[in-house]
């Protein structure tokens, strides 16, 4: 009886310690949705995968700006005036356009305010987009494939002999 109690007690303590360690390890907690539902069912698989459109075609600022940018509504519309204009999602797009309202996309990859991430330097370093963003071309809905934790950034920087000076990324 005593032995059983002892074992149970030890087990509880062990579990608690492990849980606390895990909790500590993942602090600060990241409870954001890795694959949020978007207002429009935009498929990267269709655009980038099946149709083979290059990332930089839409995210054109990635080459020259810290922000990669997303295509403006006008750009979406320009294509879809001719391409499958009758698909239900395209109609939704057109409705937004008519109301002159931007689509409230949900951000999947977001970095805190104190991090400086220049897309252009990473593109110039010949880093494939998939290195951080995963195989977008196979995703119907975008799923975040990286933890975006500092350790993750640091690993890659160390691997590629990029600068690990704090001020390279922190602002």
């Amino acid at each position: 009886m005593n032995k059983v109690r002892l074992i149970i007690g030890l087990a509880i303590v062990t579990v608690a310690i492990v849980a606390a360690s895990v909790l500590l390890y993942i602090l600060p907690l990241d409870v954001r949705d890795h694959s949020p539902v978007q207002p429009l069912r935009f498929s990267h698989k269709l655009h980038a995968g099946d149709n083979g459109i290059h990332c930089l075609f839409c995210h054109s600022y990635a080459l020259k700006s810290p922000a990669a940018g997303i295509p403006s509504m006008e750009e979406c519309r320009a294509c879809h005036l001719f391409i499958s204009p009758n698909a239900p999602e395209i109609k939704k797009l057109m409705k937004y356009w008519e109301k002159r309202e931007p689509i409230p996309w949900v951000r999947v990859y977001s970095l805190p305010d104190f991090v400086y991430f220049p897309h252009m330097m990473h593109v110039r370093a010949k880093l494939p987009c998939a290195a951080c963003h995963g195989e977008v071309a196979t995703m119907e809905r975008i799923t975040r494939s990286a933890s975006l934790k500092m350790g993750w950034c640091l690993n890659c920087h160390q691997k590629h002999k990029a600068s690990i000076d704090c001020w390279t990324c922190h602002k």
Binding site: S21, L24, Y25, I26, L27, K149, M150, G151, L154, N155
Partner: protein, 456 residues
């Protein structure tokens, strides 16, 4: 030693009764005290919560005085913790028999003062909620703390010290817990049974126990010295005039013992009164503690003289500026501190009659602690106020938040102590009774006896 350390002719169970009197059911006055202390602690917590939820502007801190009462508290409490374990360890190693009734009070004080003191660096943080950045553990940031910082030395030292002194306290309490176990029932019995670990007092257990106690005492002394040296290094390794001084570590250690011993005396007086231990804590004890305190007061005065004298004589401009600012703006505090820490104890404790007067000892010991609190304040605040760049000199005045947290800390310590006294033997029962046992030697044909009792 002609004077008896123990009252004569009391049976073991009478001794047990008297020394474990604190474990009896609490009276209403105990509840009132606990409630009052709890209220003060709650107020301190409220003040801290207020600071946590608004911002640090509710403190008196500023540039250049970025450290204030919180750090004063930190140094003060860590200082207090010294006497406890260290004095107890020294006395244990030197086998001073009069130590026995004092030990528990001192060791328990250490644990609680370290616990209170250790909280202050965390309270003091600007962003308390990210305190875990200070803890070395594998994390997703790929970044570990900077061990160059004296604050991490502090953290490791205090961690070591709090573990060590808790173990030391526990170790000393082990046989007492067994006694308490045997005399209790209900939840107390369960608690003591668990804590006593099945101690039976077998001869072999006692033998190992004694060796372990000696070893622990030997180990804990260097830890205690290192802890306060490191606290001193927080200041001494900086480039702040008034802080950057090689005398600081020994000076801090001496100061720590000074305040610690005084605190032990204060606590002894209180315990003696509250738990009616007049028979066990006799003027002899106060006499001996008084002698100890006298020596330490002399040492402290010497260290302080050396510290000030070098500044004074060298007259290095910025150091001198800091000193003269302190002597000007804080003249009253400075004089009071010198009186309370040095003049009063040295004069008073020279006289046996005064040493044996409980009232005098109470006044002296309380004043020493007030003085030591002031001393920490005078080390930290004036130096920061008048640092190297005169254009941005400043002043500091603690606000209600800092004072409330300080009051909460004092109450918290008292509360923990009160609770501890209600739950655990406040006097080292077996240790005291051991004297009895060692004196009465059975002479039987098969034994060759070494009379350890007369080594006093």
């Amino acid at each position: 030693m002609s004077e008896p350390i123990l009252p004569a002719a009391k049976s073991s169970s009478q001794l047990n009764d008297e020394m474990l009197s604190s474990l009896r059911t609490p009276t209403w006055s105990w509840y009132a005290l606990a409630l009052f202390l709890g209220a003060v602690v709650a107020w301190g917590l409220y003040a801290f919560g207020y600071m946590l939820t608004t911002d640090m502007s509710c403190t008196g801190l500023n540039r250049p005085v970025m450290w204030g009462v919180y750090i004063v508290n930190f140094v003060f409490w860590i200082g207090l913790s010294h006497s406890g374990t260290m004095v107890s360890a020294i006395l244990r190693l030197s086998r001073a028999n009069w130590r026995r009734p004092i030990l528990r009070a001192a060791e328990a004080m250490t644990v609680f003062t370290v616990a209170v003191g250790g909280l202050f660096p965390l309270i003091h943080l600007g962003r308390n909620w990210v305190f875990f950045y200070l803890i070395p553990y594998p994390n997703q940031r790929g970044l570990w703390p900077n061990f160059r910082s004296a604050l991490l030395w502090d953290a490791t030292a205090i961690f070591t010290y709090i573990i060590g002194s808790s173990l030391f306290l526990y170790l000393g309490m082990l046989p007492d817990l067994a006694v308490a176990r045997d005399r209790s029932s209900g939840w107390r019995f369960k608690l003591y049974s668990v804590l006593a670990m099945g101690w039976r007092g077998a001869a072999r257990e006692w033998a190992i126990f004694h060796q372990a106690s000696t070893l622990m005492a030997a180990l804990i002394i260097p830890v205690a010295v290192s802890v306060h040296s490191i606290v001193a290094w927080d200041f001494a390794v900086t480039v702040i005039p008034g802080w950057h001084s090689t005398i600081f570590p020994p000076y801090f250690v001496i100061g720590a013992i000074h305040s610690g011993v005084a605190a032990v005396i204060t606590l002894m007086i209180i315990i003696r009164r509250v738990f009616h231990l007049e028979d066990y804590l006799t003027p002899l004890h106060f006499d001996n503690m008084g002698k100890l305190l006298l020596v330490i007061a002399l040492l402290w005065s010497y260290a302080y003289f050396v510290e000030v004298q070098t500044t004074w004589y060298a007259h290095e401009p910025i150091e001198w500026e800091v000193f003269s600012f302190m002597a000007d703006k804080y003249a009253f505090l400075l004089l009071f501190m010198i009186f309370a820490n040095s003049v009063l104890p040295i004069v008073a404790l020279c006289f046996k009659r005064l040493r044996r007067s409980i009232a005098v000892m109470l006044v002296v010991s309380v004043l020493i602690n007030v003085g030591m609190f002031i001393e920490r304040f005078l080390i930290i605040v004036p130096s920061l106020s008048h640092k190297n760049m005169p254009f941005v000199w400043g002043t500091y005045r603690p606000t209600w938040v800092e004072l409330s947290v300080t009051a909460g800390a004092f109450a918290g310590f008292a509360l923990m102590y009160t609770l501890f006294a209600k739950c655990f033997p406040m006097v080292a029962v077996t240790d005291v009774r051991e004297l009895e046992a060692q004196k009465s030697v059975v002479r039987l044909s098969r034994t060759r006896l070494q009379s350890s009792a007369e080594k006093e």
